[in-house]
Symmetry: C3
Subunit: 342 residues, 3 copies
């Protein structure tokens, strides 16, 4: 399976990158990241072109990174600017591949493809992350032992919630499915969205501390954009009241392939109520951790293990009407990957 390269992937949250060089693997490639003295985050291949040593173990000298093995120095564009050895000559090919890296709304975005196509306007809207007057926000990261497309499938089809998350973000099957969940989907040229509506439903365990009434109208939308960014919005209103008049939770689920079998899962969660409430902060993160780490990840990883391949369709899965959004997104992504390969 090929990855889509000409797209923005989340490389982490702003706090992840500092003056201490780090390495993270994206699309199979180890990537060096650090901040310049001016605070600019930079990303380059983590493999020294001389002996493939891991650059992030080297020293920063100002904005220049020094290879930890033989001391070659590279600037933030990846150009070798100093060879301390022997005649000191610097071969033309002595370069670290440089990757465009954009920091926006506390989020880092990396472009692993053709740098000339890296248009920051293509980055999805993540503004709520920094609207701290409107939202309390929590950020997290998870390692998923499965192909990123299985995580996309999980997120674009939330009908799993009553079964996988009965005690956290789902609620019991009886409460949600019994409440007559309406599932829909929409697609346009650049996105696929699945939607859920449930009238007069009991709040899920996650919502109870935030929503005081015994029942409410639940609305969820999950919008996927290529390659693997998903923006979610959940609202719970008193029965019959207009959307937005109650609790609103915006979320981000940003997936970056590590390799075909492993995925970075960066998530942001926000709420428009109990904003300055440390207990609510802790509760929101605890529910998210429980749901994503202890419920979703083991289920997705178990499916991957039982599949034994990363190509779902080769196994001829039985498809349900609720798979429309996942299949639409998979076909869209596949077409982009095919097109890029040509």
């Amino acid at each position: 399976m090929a990855f889509l390269r000409n797209t923005w992937y989340c490389a982490g949250w702003s706090a992840d990158v500092s003056r201490t060089p780090i390495s993270k693997t994206f699309l199979g490639e180890p990537v060096l990241m650090y901040r310049t003295e001016a605070g600019q985050p930079v990303a380059m291949s983590n493999k020294c072109p001389h002996r493939f040593a891991p650059m992030h173990l080297g020293r920063l000298k100002g904005d220049v990174i020094e290879c930890p093995y033989h001391g070659l120095q590279f600037n933030t564009e990846g150009r070798c600017v100093h060879n301390p050895q022997g005649d000191g000559k610097i071969p033309q090919a002595a370069k670290l591949q440089h990757f465009p890296l954009v920091e926006r709304d506390g989020t880092l975005w990396i472009w692993m493809g053709d740098a000339t196509l890296a248009d920051p306007n293509l980055i999805i809207d993540t503004h709520f992350v920094v609207e701290r007057d409107r939202y309390a926000v929590g950020l997290g990261h998870l390692l998923v032992h499965a192909n990123y497309q299985l995580v996309m499938d999980n997120l674009l089809d939330l009908t799993h919630a009553p079964f996988v998350h009965p005690n956290t973000v789902g609620g019991s099957p009886e409460d949600s499915l019994g409440a007559g969940m309406q599932v829909g989907f929409e697609a346009d040229a650049v996105s696929v969205t699945s939607t859920y509506f449930c009238a007069d439903m009991k709040p899920t365990p996650q919502l109870r501390p935030l929503y005081p009434l015994p029942t409410g109208d639940l609305r969820i939308s999950m919008r996927w954009q290529p390659a693997s960014s998903l923006a979610m919005r959940l609202s719970m209103t008193p029965p019959g009241q207009p959307d937005g008049s109650g609790v609103v939770l915006p979320l981000l689920h940003l997936l970056t392939p590590i390799d075909e079998q492993t995925t970075h899962y960066f998530f942001a969660l926000a709420r428009n109520v109990a904003i300055d409430n440390a207990e609510a902060d802790a509760g929101m993160m605890a529910f998210a951790r429980a749901a994503f780490e202890q419920e979703d990840e083991p289920m997705i990883a178990a499916c991957q293990a039982q599949m034994g391949t990363t190509d779902l369709l080769s196994l001829k899965p039985v498809l349900l009407s609720t798979d429309v959004a996942t299949m639409k997104a998979r076909r869209h992504l596949d077409a982009l990957i095919q097109q890029e390969g040509r």
Copy 2:
């Protein structure tokens, strides 16, 4: 290497399967097992046909099993009987493969091949397991890190006993080989049997608590039937006395491939003396555990590791006269596998 599919494999002991669904892997396939409300054990593929989730993590609703991921429900024949999602339609292909499972004499037998050929009359005789008036019986299970055919080889050639088991079930080489062990073998259309006779021999450490005399005549037969079921009988009589007049130990060694490199080893041990004796029970199991887990398994696994392949013959092993039974059984099994492949 292909596995023989149209044959009965041991799937465990009766107590292994209950109202709590479990998964065991046989011939590379994860298999779901549970009991119906009426107590009937059932076996099906553990992979939901929708997203390949592990069914054994789901809930039992009566005799119906619910997928833990999106809630599809399947009956004991593997047919999907409920889809809680969206329009609720059930695709024709929504099935779990159903495997014939027979419970007999406290033993579970599974048929991984063509279900129409699954004739329970083909199951080997294991009646002693439930003859609790005649025998004290112990049951066990072992994981072997080697191909099942290497375990067959181990069992069909017990001349390894003095070297691998001098302090447990073998006795020292001097005591057994010095006693003039006679090794024979018999084969018919459906089985291969190796036999051992040693006159006036010191009892092995395992036999000492059960057999009071200083020497005796030891008789062992080990009967293999395809694919990998071995029934053993050991008798020790006072010198010159007829077979069966002293201690008799019937045993089962039932091998079920997990994959090419790993094997389920189910064993049953029985004795016709000291039947209601808890100390003798504990001793019998302790000797078996020591012999199988700490002596045989490490030796077989070490051979497998040094072979680096599961095809013994491709390594051109040197064969001894004592290999007649193992080679006969291997050729027999290979012919069955070839025939099935056509």
Copy 3:
């Protein structure tokens, strides 16, 4: 990648082999080693030709080794001399491959190729190891998680020392490179040598306890001989004094491939000062362990992991002028391997 077989590899230090049989893996093959009653070390394949059992788990009966599985006995030439089973016949092919093994200067050398070519005169000079009146000597062993040629590269290009070993055997880049390190290399038909000279340099942390002056002239030579034996000599003299007039440290770095991704690294260290000084002994070994185990090994293993292959040149590394010796040795070795393959 093929290994050079017709060459001497270090099989360990004399103390490694005793009357307790052991197995070590060289060039992908498990090798049995033990000493005869007369003290002669012997090496044979560790795989019994019957069922590939690990011979080193068997018993020594005099000079004869007994297979731990079925009791075949082999003499020190690898010939089967006893079959305790059945008719007792010994098949012609029942042999353990015998490997020439030479013990010299406390060092064991094994020849994994054509035994008729195993000329002990081809073994490199290691005499200092036993010159205990001239040198204090320490011996060690390290497991390296990388191809042996990456370790060769490390040793034949010591310009990495200031970066990898600033606090142990290297000294800081400023002290050494600033001191105007002169790097040279020499090659002849049977060896490649890299040389280093640094006038009036601060002693490295390792040298400080041994060399009392604030600065000195540092000379290092590192001589590689195929397949992967490296003899090093380091001298530190008062500025301007002749080589040898101060501290002299002879070292051996003897590399034996375990497989393509793992390497035995046997090292010997000696010094001509503070000979009968236990504290100096401990310090010398501590610096070596720190430098080799905690600094070199992780760096080399990290390069190997980032390379993902054992064929360096297929990755088109950028080469520096300081790579002349490493590339010369690699080409020399490659030619020998090619030649042997024909």
